[in-house]
Structures are given as structure tokens and as C-alpha cells.
């Protein structure tokens, strides 16, 4: 049964990959841009899914790392440094800052941690908004170029899309490998029962710090790609509100499900962008989204990707109660 699931999953992934490869042929320029926008967020949300979905940490400051990645690239490129140095720099800086943010996580629990990360986001955002000498303040940094690889320019939406797609696949592959390794189990143990985990020899301290650091690094990479995608960076997309939206994207897609971010980013980012020009609908997207989140918590608290598991569980429960009923009937007949 598992092999069949595996084969289905593999076939699905290949089909999706093929679709993503040919999609630009059928879309206009803006559509290709939107796909890139979506993929950038998929990378960022994958990182948050690791931190909160797999490792169970409460992180409401993810947009800060997204922003740090974007500003790192923007500032470095303005200073004449290549994007190809800016991208790894963004990842490394965010990894280091993620470790720093992980330290409060060792001291405080659950909701207090959530507020601490929220506060961290506020602090970072305030720096972005106020320190004009560094970040351009509310005016931001504009005219961020798109890089060239091996002499081939990625200036156009379509080449840049393929670049972003390649990075997304690499990041996804790395995450897949990490989660399949013993680290994946260790993260889940940290999430489900940190006290037991510690008594079994799992170093919850290190895994907590790393869950923040790796998640942040992913956001940093996404931010770097974001900078060259939108080519104008200002503090707006990196607020606490943005972090909260990112957290909701993890939850809506399905926390702890590998493909959750794909769905979550689609709902959180693509859908509203798509509907931006639809008259009358655009303003109501967020209220409807908010209300849907409330409803989803009541009916589907584990997110959209938990639907197959739920159906399976319901079928198993039905079978079990049918078995019990049959047993009871047999006992009655025998007595």
C-alpha cells in the first residue's frame, strides 16, 4: 500500500513539475510573473513549515527574515556586489539570526514564544522603516537588477521564472532529504513531546535552534529572489501582519505536510493577487480569507492536506465499528 502511495506521489510530482515547466508558454507576462511570485513564497513557507509544522515551534516573525534576505541583496547590489554573492550572504545572515531567535525559544514556551517572535519582527521592521541611511527608510531601495548567469541575462520574466523554479526545486529537494533523515524524526519528536524526547537522548536545544535557523535561511533565500523579482524593496511586505499571513499559509496548507506550503502560498498569495483587478472582489478577499480560517479551524484544523488522512481515519473508524457490531451480534447469537 505504501509503495502504491509512493508511486502515486511520485507520478503526481512529475506531472506537476512538467506542468510548471511548460506553463509559461501558455501565460502572458503577468501570469509568468505571478508564478514566480508564488514560488518565492513557496520557498519561504517551506522554511516556516519546518520551524512550526515539523518542529512545533511558534514563529510569528518569519517575514522579518524574508525582509532581511531581500534587503541584504538589495543593499549589496546597490553597493556593486553581485547577486550571486548576495544570495548566499542572505542565506547565511538569516541562518545566523535564526539561531539568535532560537535562544528565546529555549527559555519560553508556546504563546510567549509566539509573542517574542512577533516582537522580533516588529523590531526588525522598525529598523527597516527608520534607518534610512541603510535601508532607504520608507522610500526603500529601487531599481534592483535581475542577475545574469554565465552571460545569459535573467532580466525577462520568463528566464527569471525558470531560475526561481530551479531554486525552488533545489530547496525542496534539500528539505525532503533533511526530513527523511533522522533529523526529520528528531524534529517531530521535539514537536510532539519535548520532555520525552529529551529523556530519550534527543538534544532538543540544538534541534530547536536549528529549526529556527534553517527556516530562517529558507526565508532569506526567498527574500533574495523576491528582491530581484519585484525590483523594488520597501518595508511594507515585511510587517507583523505579513508574518501572521505566512503562519496562516502554513496552517491552511497543512502544518507538517510537505506540500502544504505549495497550497498555502497559492491561497495566501496567488489568489489575492489574481483577484486584485476583479472589481468588488478584491476588497473582500481578506475578510473572506479571515472568515475561512475561522471556519477551517472548526472543520479542518489540520489544514487542506489533512483531507486524505481524515477520510482514511473515518473509513478505518467505520470498519472498526462494523467489526465491533458484527462481534456483538455473534456474541448475542451465541448466548
Amino acid at each position: 500500500m505504501k509503495l502504491l502511495q509512493h508511486k502515486f506521489g511520485l507520478a503526481f510530482t512529475l506531472a506537476a513539475a512538467a506542468l510548471l515547466l511548460v506553463a509559461p508558454q501558455y501565460l502572458k507576462n503577468y501570469g509568468v510573473y505571478l508564478l514566480s511570485y508564488w514560488l518565492v513564497f513557496v520557498i519561504a513557507i517551506m522554511g516556516l513549515n519546518l520551524t512550526t509544522g515539523y518542529a512545533g515551534q511558534k514563529s510569528l516573525g518569519h517575514a522579518a527574515f524574508f525582509g532581511i534576505g531581500a534587503y541584504t541583496v538589495a543593499i549589496l547590489m546597490k553597493a556593486g556586489i553581485s547577486f550571486w554573492l548576495g544570495l548566499p550572504a542572505a542565506a547565511v545572515i538569516c541562518f545566523a539570526l535564526g539561531l539568535v531567535l532560537g535562544f528565546p525559544a529555549l527559555r519560553v514556551q508556546a504563546i510567549y514564544l509566539a509573542f517574542a517572535t512577533l516582537g522580533f519582527n516588529t523590531a526588525i521592521w522598525l529598523v527597516m522603516r527608520n534607518e534610512e541611511w541603510l535601508t532607504g527608510g520608507t522610500f526603500g531601495i529601487n531599481n534592483i537588477a535581475r542577475p545574469a548567469v554565465l552571460g545569459y541575462s535573467l532580466e525577462g520574466n520568463r528566464p527569471y521564472y525558470y531560475f526561481v523554479l530551479a531554486v525552488t526545486l533545489v530547496m525542496a529537494g534539500l528539505l525532503w532529504g533533511l526530513l527523511r533523515s533522522p533529523w526529520g524524526k528528531a524534529f517531530k519528536a521535539l514537536r510532539d513531546n519535548p520532555i520525552r524526547a529529551e529523556s530519550l537522548g534527543i538534544d532538543i536545544r540544538n534541534y530547536t535552534l536549528l529549526s529556527f535557523a534553517i527556516g530562517a535561511a529558507y526565508a532569506g533565500v526567498a527574500g533574495a529572489l523576491f528582491a530581484s523579482l519585484v525590483q523594488f524593496i520597501e518595508p511594507g511586505p515585511f510587517t507583523v501582519g505579513a508574518s501572521i499571513m505566512m503562519y496562516l499559509m502554513v496552517v491552511v496548507g497543512g502544518a507538517g505536510y510537505f506540500f502544504g506550503p505549495v497550497l498555502g502560498a497559492a491561497v495566501g498569495v496567488v489568489l489575492p493577487e489574481w483577484m486584485r483587478d476583479v472589481p468588488g472582489v478584491a476588497a473582500w478577499y481578506l475578510p473572506i480569507f479571515g472568515a475561512s480560517v475561522v471556519l477551517m479551524m472548526v472543520w479542518l484544523p489540520d489544514g487542506l492536506l489533512s483531507i486524505p488522512d481524515r477520510l482514511k481515519a473515518r473509513r478505518a473508524a467505520r470498519e472498526a465499528s462494523a467489526q465491533r457490531a458484527a462481534k456483538a451480534a455473534k456474541m448475542k447469537a451465541g448466548s
Binding site: P104, R107, V108, A110, I111, Y112, A114, F115, A116, L118, G119, T122, A123, L126, R129, N130, I195, V240, G241, I244, Y247, L248, V251, A283, W284, L286, P287, I288, F289, G290, A291, S292, V293, V294, M296, M297, V298, P301
Partner: protein
């Protein structure tokens, strides 16, 4: 020196508004384990309810009463029955996420459905200034502080001195024992939600005149209420008062003496310091982690 006192006093006024929101937040947490991420929007909505009633021609007092009733209905009863009760069995996080969704829905619902503009709001106090011993204070500030303090004290007196209030405290401390004693637990929890709604209306009446009614007025307020509640001590309702006042005063002083641009970081910094050195809050009691 007079500057300092003026800043201190107006900080007390703002702080007392934070205290109202923080108190409601703390009570909800104590009574039902609910973390209400939409607390800021719970203050925003009554502000717009008031505007609605006033625009229908109702006089001030009638509007206030109607707002309180409507708030208790929506933010108390509907919120409890519709959101908290169904999610209670799943634990804390689903409720947190649901209230996050609720805050987004409320904020943007008002923006889309009513107005994205800032609207003026009538004050309960006349526009007067007083000069006492060289220090200038507005009637608004003094009245805000006094009224908020009265409401906070009244709430705490209600909880400590009345039969219903003590029953509510019993529910907050040990729900199972309380129900065994014959206390109607769901009703006591509802009363907590109702009180939160009333506190939110009070906060709205006091804060909106100065900052105007706008769909996003709840954002900063909600966050500061959380920080204030935690700074004061999450398991102690007196903590909400202390936390709110501390945040209000420090914010004002920091804005004047350090930097106005980083005013919003003040609550955060105090929060981080408290969390790291006294996580149970200034007035809170240490909670043992049970294995």
C-alpha cells in the same frame, strides 16, 4: 521636570486604556484558556458600532448602551458559542489561529464594508486644559485615567466580592472542581466573555476620540495589550493594570527622551526583558511544569 510629569501623566492615561484591553485579555485566558488575537479588533468594532448608532440619530448615552449590548452579544455570546466552544477540545493553538483569522476578517471587513478612512469620534469629556502647579493636563487624559481606573477597580471588586465573581474565579482556577460544586461553568465563562466585551467598549470610548476611528486602529492596541498583560503577569488580573500603566508611561517617556520613531518598540523591549528574567510577569506566580 514639568515635562516629565506631563509625559508621565498622559502616559498614565494611555496606559489605563491598555490596562482595560489587557485585563479583558487576561480574564479570557484565565477563565477559558483563550488567547484572543483579535482583542484589538474587539476594541475597534465597538468604535464603529458607536458611529453607526450615532449616525442613526441616537443620542450619546443611548448609543453607548446600545453599543454595549451589541458588543456583549457579538463579541461575548456569538464569539464564545461560535468560535471558542467548538474549538475548545483541540487545545490552545486552533483557538489562536481562529482568532487570528477573526482579526483579519473583522479588520478588513470593516475596511471593505464600511470605510477605509479615519473618522472623528465624540469624546466623553469636554476639550479642556488644566494647569496644576505648572503642569498642563487635558481633561481628556485625566478623565480617561479616572474612568478606566474606576472600571478596572469595579471589575476586580466584582470578581473578588460578589458571589458570581467568586464563582467565576473558581471556574478560572479549577473548572472541574467548580462544576462539581454546582457552579454553572459555561455561564460563568460566558460572563467572562461579556466582561471582556464591556471592557473593550470602554477602551473604545476612551481611545478613539484621540486616535480616530479607523479599521486598523486595533492592530497596535491589540499587540500592546498582549505585552502589557504578560509584563504584568498573565495569571494575575492586577498584573494587567500594572502592565498597562508601565507600558503607557514608558512609551511616552521613551518617545520624548529617546526616539519617537521607536516608540512601538518600547512595549516589546520591556516584554523581552520580563520574559527572560521573570517569565511569570511582574506580579505573576511561577507555574510548575508538570511531568
Amino acid at each position: 521636570m514639568t515635562d516629565f510629569i506631563q509625559l508621565f501623566l498622559s502616559g498614565l492615561a494611555t496606559g489605563s486604556i491598555y490596562a482595560l484591553a489587557a485585563l479583558g485579555f487576561t480574564l479570557l485566558w484565565q477563565a477559558s484558556g483563550t488567547i484572543n488575537f483579535a482583542q484589538g479588533e474587539f476594541v475597534m468594532l465597538p468604535a464603529f458600532m458607536m458611529l453607526g448608532f450615532l449616525s442613526l440619530g441616537a443620542p450619546m448615552l443611548v448609543s453607548v448602551v446600545c453599543t454595549v449590548l451589541l458588543a456583549v452579544l457579538l463579541l461575548g455570546w456569538v464569539f464564545k458559542r461560535g468560535v471558542v466552544d467548538p474549538l475548545f477540545k483541540y487545545g490552545m493553538m486552533p483557538i489562536v489561529v481562529a482568532t487570528i483569522g477573526l482579526s483579519i476578517a473583522m479588520r478588513n471587513g470593516v475596511r471593505a464594508g464600511y470605510s477605509a478612512e479615519a473618522h472623528p469620534f465624540p469624546s466623553l469629556f469636554a476639550d479642556k486644559l488644566y494647569n496644576i502647579a505648572g503642569v498642563t493636563v487635558t481633561l481628556q487624559d485625566m478623565g480617561t485615567f479616572a474612568l478606566a481606573m474606576v472600571i478596572v477597580m469595579a471589575t476586580q471588586a466584582f470578581l473578588a466580592k460578589t458571589v458570581t465573581g467568586r464563582a467565576m474565579q473558581a471556574v478560572a482556577q479549577n473548572t472541574e472542581s467548580a462544576s462539581v460544586l454546582g457552579i454553572n461553568v459555561p455561564r460563568m465563562i460566558f460572563y467572562t466573555f461579556a466582561i471582556n466585551a464591556v471592557l473593550a467598549v470602554a477602551a473604545a470610548m476612551l481611545v478613539t476620540p484621540t486616535y480616530l476611528a479607523k479599521f486598523d486602529m486595533g492592530e497596535g492596541l491589540g499587540t500592546k495589550a498582549f505585552f502589557a498583560a504578560i509584563i504584568g503577569g498573565f495569571n494575575n488580573s492586577r498584573g494587567a493594570l500594572l502592565g498597562g500603566l508601565i507600558v503607557g508611561v514608558c512609551e511616552n517617556l521613551a518617545a520624548a527622551y529617546i526616539s519617537p520613531a521607536y516608540k512601538d518598540a518600547v512595549a516589546l523591549v520591556i516584554f523581552m526583558v520580563v520574559i527572560l528574567f521573570k517569565p511569570q510577569g511582574l506580579l505573576g506566580k511561577k507555574e510548575e511544569r508538570k511531568v
